[in-house]
């Protein structure tokens, strides 16, 4: 466990902390909006994980230009592309989840999971 290893893996560890915070919000909180927020936190941490892996030491953004030297290193464009897609899909699913929450609130009058379960059992 030397300093190089810690610095080299620090990003991944923080990303895991963020991921687990999101996971905790999802499983520990009964409020539906809070659950969606937790999913969002989780999602962004996954994006960060991918982008971290795409980075190259001494590299720059993958935009080619004439003034760059021939052996200029570029970060990997593939994780960027995958995450661009994932961000937009993530917002689409968030919108869907929020619409469902609005409907649940209209029908049940609450967005707390335990209260909804009680109402469901009673009916």
């Amino acid at each position: 466990m030397d300093i190089d290893m810690v610095l080299g893996l620090y990003n991944y560890w923080i990303v895991i902390v963020l991921m687990m915070t999101g996971f905790y919000i999802v499983i520990a909180r009964g409020n539906l909006i809070k659950t969606v927020i937790g999913l969002n936190v989780f999602q962004i941490s996954v994006f960060l994980l991918y982008i971290t892996m795409g980075r190259v030491d001494g590299g720059t953004a993958p935009i080619l230009h004439e003034t760059a030297s021939a052996d200029q290193a570029y970060s990997n464009p593939l994780p960027s592309v995958l995450i661009l897609t994932a961000i937009v899909v993530g917002v689409a699913t968030t919108a869907l989840a929020l619409a469902l929450i609005v409907r649940i609130r209209e029908d049940y009058g609450t967005i707390e999971e335990d209260e909804i379960l009680i109402l469901d059992r009673e009916s």
Binding site: Y10, L18, T21, L64, S75, V81, V88, A92, E122
Partner: protein
């Protein structure tokens, strides 16, 4: 650079914990926006400006607006919890430890010999200049729209489906009044 990196990551972790702990939903949504924005800044440092722009505009912007709209239609406060949830914390710690154990074999940050960078030869960067006739300097764009155009088509399909679904869910049914009356009657009979 590494100092900025460490600072932003520490801020990200702090914001995430704040989101988890705060009871007021409005504040939690705002913290999520800050969290997205910090993530976008960090992506810029990691040489992914396209993702950073998208995250800042879509993740921090549209998501926050959508959530605020939902808050306006529902409630702003979260119900206080009675007892501290021990089991979820335990699950999270165990999962997190397993993941950290998994990272020990990961290539180090910025390592140019990592499998991510070497498994495609020639990579998109080498191919792009020739394939795009030198007219598309941004490799991310050429991969997004050309090499992996089907992914983008799939993405558009998902967004379209989600949009239709949101419209159908939020559509006011024609016999709204009778439905509401029926619901009240049910509630009354059980209450």
């Amino acid at each position: 650079m590494i100092a900025v990196d460490i600072c932003i990551l520490a801020l990200l972790a702090t914001t995430a914990v704040a989101v988890a702990r705060i009871r007021n939903l409005w504040a939690a949504v705002m913290f999520t926006g800050i969290y997205s924005f910090l993530g976008a800044s960090w992506m810029l440092i990691l040489d992914a400006p396209d993702v950073a722009f998208t995250e800042a505009a879509v993740g921090a912007g549209i998501s926050t607006v959508l959530m605020l709209a939902t808050l306006a239609l529902t409630s702003r406060e979260e119900k206080p919890i009675k007892k501290f949830p021990v089991l979820p914390l335990l699950v999270v710690i165990v999962t997190g430890s397993a993941l950290v154990y998994g990272t020990l074999d990961m290539p180090r940050f910025g390592d140019p010999t990592a499998p991510v960078h070497t498994r495609m030869d020639p990579g998109f960067i080498e191919k792009s200049e020739h394939d795009m006739h030198g007219e598309m300097p941004n490799v991310v764009t050429s991969v997004l729209a050309s090499y992996r155009g089907y992914d983008t088509l799939g993405e558009t399909t998902v967004i379209f489906t989600a949009g239709i679904a949101v419209l159908l869910i939020l559509r006011k049914p024609p016999k709204r009044k009778t439905n509401a009356a029926f619901g009240q009657e049910q509630e009354g009979s059980h209450g």
